[in-house]
Amino acid sequence: MPKRVIWGAGVLLLVMAAAYASFYVAPTERTMGAIQRIFYFHAASAWAGMTAFLICFVANLQYVLGRKQKWDWIGVSAAEVGLAFTTVVLITGPIWAHPVWGIWWTWDARLTSTFVLWLLYVAYLMLRSMVEEPDRRALLSAIFGIFAFLDVPLVFGAIRWWRTQHPQPVIMGSPGSGLEPTMRKVFFFSVLAMHALMVLLVSERYRLEKLRGEFQELQREAEAG
């Protein structure tokens, strides 16, 4: 059996176990009730998305410094995957917010900076589709990607620096904040599962980009011959 299939099955089992734990292991939160269980999916997806954007940022820097094609491929792969995770965050957040806040959305610092982050990486992918020459495309998008990542610390800090409708942090928050021990374990298990899924998706997307590189090489060979 190919390694990829085993790895994929492992990730699937891990995310299923995390979903099970968030419904049957984690206790029901006292104020919000069962709806709070979305937290394990919503926040874990947000963490995995931020890690994907961090990978994209490192790859963008590496490309600008060394101009190796591999870093461009990692950059675009991580950006697309990070965008998928952020899309999940922007969908699950309002579904959680509506019964709790009575509104789907508000333009507070956390929600707005997350939406801006989503737009920035959509722009990153649009920019790539508009530039045809591969080296120019890689350099321009790497520079834009470095700029886009500047929003990530803003997203992280928004609920720490400003008063927001979005809840204050329960991890790495102020003294007195935090999670009930079982909730904390389930949360970190969900974070692990979503990171495994993120790595799997980035590696699948990287394979596509590598194949595209091979295709362009063959095209050049065909045109020269």
Binding site: G33, A34, I91, L197, L201, E204, L208, F215, A222, G225
Partner: protein, 47 residues
């Protein structure tokens, strides 16, 4: 369980996004692999 429909919607839509993304990567990879094979075959024929 209160708000079960919202929890169900969040998980369904969230996993839907990942599924559609994975499917799109798999389809793009399969299409490109076909192109690579076709190009390789035409280059070998031309030699």
């Amino acid at each position: 369980m209160k708000n079960l429909d919202s929890i169900f919607a969040a998980y369904l839509l969230g996993w839907g996004v990942f599924f559609v993304f994975y499917l799109s990567v798999a389809r793009r990879t399969a299409a490109l692999r076909g192109e690579v094979e076709r190009l390789k075959a035409s280059l070998t024929k031309g030699k």
